[in-house]
């Protein structure tokens, strides 16, 4: 894939479609050439308004037809889309806008940026409403800068990422080749387009001629059956939920097939650890569920594919020569065209810890290759527990053992700050809570006997409070927010044992 030829090539796939909801509320399905006509019209309007290559176009919107028009029109013009997460509140958006020299800001939320002279309402994308752009807006001269996006940092603040044009082209090309995308494919996108992964999928589908449907995440379950995609990308929680409801009992394969639309060729997951049992269950039922691994800073690193899969691994590295390990077994990537050039709007230490001076990108993930070249992840570097005796281990190792105990729905292993003890937070069913304490005691004693002494669990906290984004125990990516879990149970974790 290359951007210079993307739109022209996409026009050649005349029989493929794109469908999404428009701002006027209509559910809009168009052929790809008709989509590109709308893109051209918007690009012409932008040119007339004074947009030139390298100018930034700010965009805050949820998934929809107009989002794609702005993205593709920017490609046509060589402008830089500066996309902001949909959920960023208006006051934070207003502060962010002050720091950036965008020619205009396109907003879906009518309450966002009131009175801003260069604000465009997303609903006016396809109307005759004239566009006002900031005549003093600068142009970014870097030819390789494709777009600016944000991802959430570990402590909840936003990290800005300068996305590379060549990095995007390389990654999308790898994806099309490894998964053999072609015009018979159809892709349902329901994760936010403000997360760059989804835009990569759009470019891949346009290049390969696959049909695309873009919806908001709230209707994902209805849309699977209605659109009948041949592939989807989703976090583990989605597959867990679908399996629990439709993948068990008699005629599970038929039920699951019907729910997924009957046309699935493969499904990709990542973003958080997934249970191996779940991967096995889907694959045994005939639905290839493939774990993949990447970080936005460098792009996809490894993936299982329909042709090559090993459950439990995140697949073989896409380019084995790019993948290295430092002395702490951290996965570090050295590649000619990483997906991201570097951070903007981020603290200095973040950048220096990730984009290393020697040109490698540190992922923060601890991993190892097996003899056949499959990559296994063992946890996050920053989550390593360092015991008072100087031993190190990953909480996930213990968590996997703990969640296999009867009645334990979630297990989060932390370290107390006061005594440096290993503490297990165990989420059990409320009905079992009175008994769970006794059962867990026995189980933990048995578990402690089977593991090295430095990993011994000194204390447990039994709760029926399920981790969620709302209570601060899950991140937006549905991973355990260990700091949040610690804060929630700090009193019980730090209690001095009698």
């Amino acid at each position: 894939m290359n951007f210079a030829a993307l739109l022209e090539r996409a026009r050649g796939h005349a029989s493929n479609t794109l469908s999404a909801r428009r701002m006027d509320g209509s559910d809009h399905q168009v052929s790809v050439p008709a989509l590109l006509d709308d893109v051209e019209a918007l690009a012409a309007k932008l040119t007339q308004a004074g947009i030139r290559p390298g100018m930034q176009i700010g965009l805050q919107a949820g998934n929809g037809y107009e989002y794609l028009l702005w993205d593709l029109a920017a490609i046509k013009l060589g402008a830089v889309i500066h996309t902001v997460p949909e959920e960023l509140p208006p006051e934070k958006l207003a502060a962010l806008v002050q720091q950036h020299d965008a020619a205009l800001w396109v907003c879906e939320n009518r309450q966002a940026l009131p009175g801003h002279p260069y604000r465009v309402d997303l609903a006016d994308t396809c109307t005759d409403h004239p566009l006002a752009i900031d005549p003093a807006a600068g142009r970014l001269e870097d030819q390789d800068l494709h777009t600016r996006v944000y991802s959430s940092g570990s402590s909840g603040y936003l990290k800005g990422l300068n996305i590379s044009r060549r990095g995007t082209e390389a990654l999308v090309s790898d994806f099309i080749a490894a998964f053999a995308l072609d015009p018979a494919d159809s892709h349902l996108i329901f994760l936010p387009l403000s997360n760059y992964q989804q835009r990569l999928s759009v470019y891949g589908c346009l290049w390969a001629g696959a049909s695309i449907r873009v919806v908001r995440h709230t209707s994902v379950f209805q849309e699977l059956g209605a659109f009948k995609p041949s592939f989807i990308v989703a976090p583990p929680a989605i597959y867990e939920n679908i399996y629990h409801v439709h993948g068990r009992g008699q005629q599970a394969a038929q039920k699951l097939g019907a729910f997924l639309g009957g046309n699935i060729r493969f499904m990709i997951t990542g973003m958080a650890p997934i249970r191996h049992e779940l991967l096995r269950a889907y694959n045994e039922l005939g639905f290839p569920l493939l774990e993949a691994y990447g970080v936005t800073e460098t792009g996809m690193i490894a993936w299982n594919t329909p042709a090559t899969q090993r459950i439990g691994s995140v697949g073989r590295p896409i380019h084995p020569e790019h993948v290295h390990f430092n002395e702490e077994s951290e996965v570090v990537i050295r590649r000619p065209f990483p997906l991201t050039q570097g951070y903007f709007d981020s603290t200095g230490s973040d950048g220096a810890q990730t984009f290393l001076a020697d040109g490698t990108i540190a992922t923060g993930d601890i991993g190892a290759l097996d003899d056949d070249g499959f990559l296994y992840l063992k946890g996050r570097k920053k989550e390593i527990i360092l015991t008072s005796g100087g031993a190190k281990f990953h909480p996930e190792e213990l968590e996997r053992k703990l969640t296999s105990l009867n009645g334990v729905r979630h297990a989060i292993v932390l370290q107390s700050q006061r005594g440096q003890e290993v503490v297990a937070v165990l989420v059990t069913d409320e009905a079992d809570a009175s008994q769970a304490s006794g059962i867990a005691d026995e189980d933990i004693r048995a578990l402690n006997q089977s593991i090295p002494s430095y990993m011994h669990i000194s204390r447990k906290v039994i709760t029926s409070t399920i981790p969620s984004i709302d209570n601060g125990m899950l991140t937006r990516n549905l991973k355990y927010d260990r700091k949040g879990v610690y804060r929630y149970f700090q009193q019980q974790i730090e209690v001095t044992q009698a």
Partner: protein
């Protein structure tokens, strides 16, 4: 009286779908109109979306345009009433 019976039936139907959507036994023994999805049942937003897709099939009414309002509702009873109003107007 009949409205109350209908509402109880709706809540009971919803309770069955909640059990299905959660995949496991919910952490409370009885699901009633005042039961809250997050605080009492510990439902994740994904469970809620699955519940609404099951509800759509069960009631034969499209909820797609109402998803934003539906995911804001806090209790089983509020959801039962909202869907009943849609079904009545269908």
């Amino acid at each position: 009286m009949s409205a109350i019976i209908d509402e109880n039936a709706d809540v009971e139907k919803l309770a069955g779908l909640i059990r299905l959507a959660m995949g496991d036994e919910p952490p409370v023994a009885v699901i009633a109109a005042q039961t809250r999805f997050t605080e009492d049942l510990g439902m994740q937003s994904i469970n809620r979306l699955m519940l609404l897709s099951l509800l759509e099939q069960e009631c034969g009414v499209s909820l797609e345009r109402h998803m934003t309002q539906l995911v804001e509702l806090q209790t089983v009873g509020d959801t039962a009433r909202f869907v009943a109003s849609l079904t009545a107007g269908h």
